[in-house]
């Protein structure tokens, strides 16, 4: 499902080079739930961005469903991302001037799904994320937990092969965090492959089979 081999990422600022990821290697099987754990600045978000095809590595192999996503031409990469990757961000990243339903429709538009079918899929995703009752609300009228559920609905609506979550509970209170974890476990139970980058200790209470990858200073420890 996911193969990462000898992945390196170096940022160059002026004459200074900073190695953010250093020889990362791991494999993730289909249906696995993986926690990328590490303190802020350890390289989790960079790794997730590379897995999502939003950033290019400096060197190393990244295969998702056997596709070398770091080497795909842009046109294919956008298509691949829209079809195969779902992403939940720390700050939710909902589009403020679209209703929740329209926000969830966005990935389907990118996948060229017909409007009628897209609406059905979006409503199903909102129902699955338990936020269907807020479908006509704008993001600024939603609480943090509601926004996060909307973001989950948007991430899973196109039925991606891989769901990536970047610090999903960082802006949630403990009740909403717990609710998010329950949802995560439900999706895992349904066979969704999930990678969560987090340093939130609440994930230590995760009551399902999962694997932890600890990252420190850009290396797996």
């Amino acid at each position: 499902m996911v193969e990462v081999e000898n992945l390196n990422k170096i940022y160059t600022v002026g004459s200074k080079q900073e190695k953010v990821l250093d020889g990362i290697t791991f494999h993730i099987q289909k249906g696995e739930l993986v926690l990328l754990r590490g303190v802020s600045g350890s390289g989790k978000t960079t790794l997730l961005s590379i897995l999502a095809g939003m950033e290019k590595p400096s060197s190393g192999k990244v295969l998702i469903d056997s596709e070398p996503i770091s080497k795909l031409p842009d046109i294919h990469l956008s298509h691949f991302r829209a079809k195969k990757i779902g992403m939940v961000f720390q700050h939710f990243n909902l589009i403020e001037n679209l209703t929740l339903l329209d926000n969830v429709l966005v990935p389907l538009v990118a996948n060229r799904v017909g409007l009628k079918e897209a609406k059905e899929m979006a409503l199903a995703a909102l129902k699955n994320a338990r936020i269907e009752h807020k479908k006509d609300a704008y993001p600024n009228r939603l609480s943090g937990g509601e926004k996060q559920r909307g973001a989950i609905a948007r991430a899973i609506v196109a039925k991606p092969s891989l769901l990536l979550c970047d610090e999903p509970t960082a802006n949630l209170d403990s009740k909403n965090s717990q609710s998010f974890i329950e949802q995560l476990m439900q999706m895992h139970k349904e066979g969704q492959t999930i990678v969560v980058a987090t340093h939130d200790p609440i994930f230590e209470t995760l009551e399902c089979e999962h694997r932890i990858i600890d990252i420190k200073n850009g290396k797996i420890v």
């Binding site: 081999e5 590595p57 400096s58 192999k61 070398p68 770091s70 080497k71 031409p73 842009d74 294919h76």
Partner: protein, 325 residues
């Protein structure tokens, strides 16, 4: 330096060509690097860097090559306008033959445009593949086109700096009038035979393209290109001008003739280009139906426009011009 070099349109043209030549130099060097080091199967830092640079280079190349297409039209427009300054010239034909560089420059430009169109098509299909299947070929097209562009730039400068505005040039009336008495057509053809060949080669080229015969298409398109040029200058053009002695490829580009020359020559060249591009791409196992269709339609448009002028003249006057003997 002559006064013509300081003409506004020439300055704009030369400045634009200089900028594009500098951009060409950048992509030329990068394309050589790609040819030498590209290895898509590698995940090394160097290869990933090359892939990022490739994105930039292909964007620059697409921008540059699209501008070159527009600049060719501007070049034709410029030399046509210079006929007001160059003594003896009545249209671009006089200006382009003002020195030895002119016709060579025009010929090189026509070849360059073919190279650029080929790049745009190859680049499009390369990016449709997930592993850049035409990348090396595309890089070679860039290198070849760049070399031609450097040559073209040298000819541009040489041409515009060597037009002597104190010496009258020969224009279409004198240029083609000189040939009276001698047969200006190739292979000793007369006009009737030229027209038979014109229509036969047109049908042949269209059928060869339709039947997807590469060798026959190449041969017939090349022959049709040559015969079509002479047919327009020595026969069809006279119906555009409605004057049997006016045998000029340039005057039809002027306002007096509704700029029809741009459509006539444009449909011919792009029809031929697309035909050749179809042949080249089919050699690499790409069956480009749209390109083939575009070639057939453009060549048909070319033949139709030319035929229209003859038919229109005949319907209005009940006779043909005197040039069919």
């Amino acid at each position: 330096m002559n006064s013509l070099f300081l003409n506004n349109q020439v300055i704009v043209y030369i400045f634009s060509e200089t900028v594009l030549a500098l951009l060409t130099l950048i992509i030329f060097v990068m394309a050589l690097k790609f040819i030498r080091y590209w290895d898509f199967n590698s995940f090394s830092n160097f290869q990933l860097k090359l892939e990022k640079e490739a994105n930039l280079v292909m964007t620059i190349a697409t921008f540059l090559f699209t501008l070159k297409l527009l600049l060719l039209i501007y070049f034709v427009y410029t030399i046509d306008n210079l006929s007001l300054i160059v003594p003896g010239a009545m249209c671009g034909a006089g200006v382009i033959s003002a020195n030895d560089y002119g016709m060579t420059l025009l010929f090189v430009k026509i070849i360059v445009i073919f190279g650029l169109l080929l790049f745009l098509v190859v680049n499009h299909y390369d990016l449709l593949g997930k592993n850049y299947p035409l990348f090396r070929f595309k890089s070679w097209v860039i290198v070849t086109a760049a070399l031609l562009i450097f040559g073209e730039f040298y000819l541009d400068i040489s041409y515009f700096t060597n037009i002597d505005t104190s010496v009258p040039v020969s224009c279409c009336s004198a240029l083609f009038g000189n040939l009276e008495g001698a047969n200006p057509l190739p292979f000793g053809l007369d006009i009737k035979m030229l027209l038979v060949l014109f229509f036969t080669l047109y049908f042949g080229a269209v059928v060869a393209l339709y039947l997807e015969s590469r060798l026959l298409s190449t041969l017939l398109l090349a022959l049709f290109g040559v015969i079509a040029y002479y047919s327009v200058v020595y026969f069809f053009g006279t119906y555009v001008y409605e004057l049997p002695t006016h045998k000029c490829p340039f005057c039809m580009l002027q306002k007096e003739y509704n700029y029809i020359g741009y459509l006539i020559w444009g449909s011919l060249f792009f029809g031929l280009y697309f035909g050749f591009i179809w042949v080249i791409m089919s050699l690499r196992s790409y069956k480009l139906e749209r390109i083939k269709l575009a070639s057939i339609l453009l060549l048909t448009l070319f033949v139709a426009i030319n035929s229209f002028y003859v038919a229109n003249y005949y319907l209005h006057n009940g006779v043909l011009l005197e040039n069919i003997k």
